[in-house]
């Protein structure tokens, strides 16, 4: 019997994805994107600041005006409401496509991931090429996102301090040929046809509010694409696209209902709307506690739904291998050092592990950078393979750089059963100049404890997070003190620098004039003679 009351009325959720906030030194036209929500109940509005076109007010109807800062790009997706992104004329085609991915391999940790494909001429692409263009650093972005998190009520990565950080972060634009961050997963992006050179990627940590929706979406996706672990929810494209997004399902119910997602992009408008649609009548047959057979009563289609076997395919689990650091320290002095990691890996299984690769995922703050060409040379001489997940500009000072992630991969390992193996990895790191300091002669840079991943033949080449055998209190992030300029003598330095340059130029001018006078006298003498 059809039951209207069984429908779940989803609350309105506004997800804000924040992209790099930039201030271009030149007097270029500022691109404005105004986000408005058509649903009256929404508490969140982004409105143009009347005083400054660069600024967007975060206005909470209940709490009033919260903050005032500069934004260049925002994009939001709201469920149960219609969201319109209004682009200025100059940026009408800046965003070529937006691909949203649902990752529901683990129903307890669902993720929504966003991939932005910019047009080649887009300022967001050009921005990265100008190393001197001012952009918010990672820490500044954290502050901005912290403000937004309080307003939105949803953790936003890379901002959420509670996050376990299940994947890598890209605060900047990255070339498409770089590996996108999915060390915890292994999706295949080769099928995606990106025409632009650079993409931007951000990810949210979902709150409990979305878990039911995503779980049902997972069930729905298995109904149609059982073999895919990642499902493309929708792609914003020039033509209107209608795609199913979610499903409400009760095993004893006799219908499946859908929430459709409609995305339309016109000359100046990108519109995303969510429409609740009544479902088709279905017949369910329970085979066992985990398997269903679904019959579509309208057209007779049926589909067998079986448990996800991905987990069982892993021959090993995180508990089968553990490690312990023997040494984790920074060698050498100055601005060019080596990050040395010595660790012992223990294989607790009764079977050996073969063709293994160990990956150290290093988290470096904005002061530190890796020279891609240096590590490529080191690899040629037998060193580890180093993958950099973000375009690193070696010439930027730290204040306009961002934190970044680097994975250091040691390959061709064999882990004998019930034995441990020592591994030593050295990574050359370089430090940028930091802001001068008013009081202290140094500033600090931090290298976090790395995350370790392992993949072997026995794990079907799936990366597997491994953990230390015991938590060693001595293992902490490495703190490095680096000299910086002294702001306390700033004015004296300026004064004496200018004084010396002026005196120097005057000395030369006087010499020229005096010498010229002598030459003229000499010339007259010659004439007289």
């Amino acid at each position: 019997m059809f039951n209207n009351n069984s429908k779940i009325n989803y609350v309105s959720l506004v997800l804000l994805f924040i992209f790099s906030i930039s201030i271009v030194r030149s007097e270029n036209n500022v691109n404005r994107i105004v986000v408005t929500s058509s649903k009256v109940e929404s508490d969140i509005h982004l409105m143009t600041n009347e005083k400054d076109d660069n600024a967007v007010d975060i206005y909470n109807e209940k709490k009033g005006l919260q903050s005032d800062f500069t934004l260049r790009h925002t994009l939001s997706i709201a469920m149960d409401s219609s969201v319109q992104l209004i682009f200025n004329q100059d940026t009408k085609d800046e965003v070529q496509s937006v691909t949203v991915y649902l990752d529901h391999k683990d129903p307890n940790h669902p993720n929504i991931q966003l991939l932005i494909d910019y047009s080649d001429w887009s300022p967001s692409v050009k921005m990265e090429s100008y190393s001197t263009v001012r952009s918010l650093s990672f820490n500044e972005s954290l502050i901005v996102c912290g403000i937004l998190e309080q307003l939105v009520g949803v953790p936003i990565q890379p901002c959420s301090s509670d996050s376990e950080l299940p994947s890598l972060l890209h605060m900047g634009l990255a070339p498409v040929d770089l590996h996108l961050p999915f060390l915890d997963e292994n999706p295949n992006f080769t099928g995606t046809d990106f025409t632009s050179k650079k993409v931007r990627f951000l990810q949210t940590e979902m709150s409990q509010k979305l878990q039911d929706l995503l779980v049902e979406s997972k069930f729905y996706s298995r109904y149609y694409k059982d073999s895919e672990r990642m499902t493309t929810v929708f792609t914003i494209s020039p033509r209107p696209v209608l795609q199913e997004f979610s499903i409400k399902f009760n095993r004893y119910s006799k219908e499946i209902s859908f929430t459709q997602v409609m995305s339309v992009k016109s000359v100046e408008r990108l519109s995303i709307s969510f429409v609740q649609r009544e479902g088709a009548p279905v017949q369910l047959k329970l085979l066992n506690k985990d398997s269903y057979e679904i019959f579509n009563m309208e057209n007779g289609d049926h589909k067998l739904v079986q448990p996800d076997r991905d987990t069982d395919d892993h021959y090993i689990t995180s508990q089968d291998v553990s490690y312990q650091f023997q040494d984790r320290s920074i060698k050498k002095l100055g601005f060019h050092r080596d990050l040395v990691t010595s660790l012992v890996i223990t294989n607790h299984l009764n079977n050996g592990l073969h063709e293994c690769s160990l990956s150290l995922l290093e988290h470096l703050d904005e002061v530190i950078f890796i020279d891609k060409y240096e590590v490529d040379e080191i690899q040629r001489f037998g060193g580890p393979q180093v993958t950099i997940y973000q375009l690193i500009d070696l010439e930027k000072p730290s204040l306009s750089s961002t934190q970044n992630y680097v994975s250091v991969v040691k390959s061709n390992l064999t882990l004998s059963p019930n034995q441990y193996q020592s591994i030593n990895i050295s990574l050359p790191v370089h430090f940028r100049y930091q802001n001068p300091s008013l009081h202290s002669p140094t500033r600090q840079s931090t290298i976090s404890i790395p995350k370790l991943f392992l993949k072997c033949k026995e794990s079907h080449n799936q990366w597997l997070r491994i953990y230390p055998s015991y938590q060693d209190p001595a293992q902490q992030s490495i703190q490095i003190q680096l000299p910086v300029g002294q702001l306390s003598i700033r004015h004296q330095i300026s004064f004496y620098t200018l004084l010396i340059t002026v005196i120097g130029s005057l000395i030369v001018v006087i010499t020229i004039i005096y010498r010229n006078y002598n030459n003229n006298n000499k010339s007259q003498k010659i004439k007289g003679y």
Partner: protein
């Protein structure tokens, strides 16, 4: 009879031999650099050469050279090095070495035209200053493209002295397109081209016979000058517009604007380094972005640091434009010494002009060695402080600043010494021959 300019001793043509030795030494170093790059982690080749090569690879693959991060040159350079991809990756170094030899050849031709009475020995000494200059040898063989621009600048001077105004203009426009610094030569060259340019031998120009300001102003737009200006400006504009149409704004930014607005906070030889570093806005929160800070103060500092350079360039121009090679030499030293960023490659800019100044200078060999030691020694102080900062992590910013001042003062001293020992050509009106004083002294 045509004068003999090659220095022949014991049957050996030492002038030609110096060309050969200079070339062989550079070839050996290129081979050595390939060996060192292949066998050692510490490279001989400069990172800039890797940047050029990557940019050329992008061009070959149909892309833009600016797809390579930190490529900040004209696309013409990437085009020149396409054989790095198609033939051998050392092609570019060979090209730079050939440009070194082209510079030497141009130096020889210019010296003969400018100083017809130069002795074979003096000519050999002048050429040796370039062919055996260790800094020039190292810069070209490690893969910096400074010799390409140097060859264009000297080609400009050569054709000016050869009375070929068309080719001089073309090469000048090309050199400014390649690298923006030759723009500082525009005013002295413009004034040098006077109304009797075609009827006056290059050896008849001397700073002892200067026109009055009134005369210069009244003849500012002569046909010869306008010809040079229009041709060189057209060359520059055509090349620049063509590259802009192909690559867009990023070409303008990376090739020109970046070098104008660039203010690296990383230490370098510039006397302004520490001032620039300390006055970089300290932004540690979002609020700092909104605060305008010391806008007016920064403007005053920027202006105050710009005026000494401009003043010096103008004075040098107005006094020495008729000793064109000496004028350009001084201008280059001034420009490099007062620049906001100063690195080793910039020294090539005035080392390639130095041989033209030697015949009219009364400096002895020992004095040249002394000047070089002062110049190199002050760099040594700087390198010592920089090493302690960069590789030992010691707080030596103040010492680096002091060393920068020392190096700057060394440059001032060198300028003063060269000015003091400069002997303009004396033209006697009674006899119709040119008899430089220093050559008479040497004969005695």
């Amino acid at each position: 009879m045509k004068p003999q300019y090659n220095y022949i001793k014991a049957g050996w043509n030492l002038t030609k031999l110096s060309f050969t030795i200079g070339f062989v030494v550079r070839l050996i170093l290129i081979v050595f650099s390939e060996w060192q790059d292949a066998n050692m982690l510490v490279k001989y080749t400069d990172i800039d050469y890797v940047v050029y090569t990557d940019a050329s690879r992008f061009v070959v693959e149909g892309g833009s050279p600016y797809d390579r991060s930190t490529y900040r040159y004209t696309p013409l350079l990437a085009y020149l090095l396409i054989p790095n991809i198609l033939v051998h990756k050392a092609w570019g170094k060979l090209l730079f070495v050939i440009c070194d030899l082209i510079i030497a050849f141009l130096l020889k031709s210019i010296l003969i035209k400018r100083f017809p009475q130069i002795t074979p020995k003096a000519l050999l000494i002048s050429l040796a200053c370039w062919l055996f200059n260790p800094i020039a040898i190292n810069v070209s063989t490690r893969g910096n493209a400074e010799s390409v621009i140097g060859a264009m600048v000297l080609a400009t001077i050569y054709f000016l002295y050869k009375k070929n105004l068309v080719l001089a203009s073309l090469f000048y426009g090309l050199s400014v397109h390649f690298k923006i610094y030759p723009i500082i030569y525009s005013i002295p060259i413009y004034i040098y081209i006077d109304e009797i340019y075609y009827h006056k031998r290059p050896s008849d120009y001397t700073s002892l016979s200067k026109r009055s300001f009134k005369h210069i102003l009244s003849n500012l737009f002569t046909s010869n000058r306008m010809k040079f200006f229009l041709l060189s400006a057209s060359t520059f504009i055509i090349l620049t517009v063509a590259m802009y149409l192909i690559y867009g704004y990023i070409f303008l930014y990376e090739t020109y604007l970046y070098h104008v607005i660039r203010a690296d906070n990383r230490h370098n030889f510039s006397v302004y380094f520490y001032q620039i570093y300390l006055n970089t806005p300290v932004i540690e929160s979002v609020k700092d972005l909104v605060t305008s800070g010391d806008g007016i103060n920064n403007l005053v500092i920027a202006l105050a640091s710009f005026l000494p350079q401009v003043l010096l360039l103008l004075v040098v121009t107005l006094v020495y434009y008729n000793d064109l090679e000496f004028c350009l030499f001084l201008e280059t030293i001034v420009f490099v010494a007062f620049n906001k960023v100063c690195t080793v490659q910039y020294f090539i800019w005035y080392f390639s002009i130095l041989p033209l100044v030697i015949p009219s200078s009364s400096l002895t060999l020992f004095k040249y060695i002394g000047l070089f030691l002062i110049w190199q020694g002050t760099q040594g102080f700087w390198l010592f402080s920089a090493f302690k900062l960069e590789f030992l992590g010691e707080q030596t910013f103040f010492n680096i600043w002091l060393s920068g001042i020392l190096f700057f003062l060394a440059n001032i001293f060198i300028l003063v010494v060269f000015i003091w020992n400069h002997n303009p050509i004396v033209i006697s009106k009674k006899s119709n021959t040119t008899t430089p004083i220093q050559f008479n002294k040497k004969i005695k």
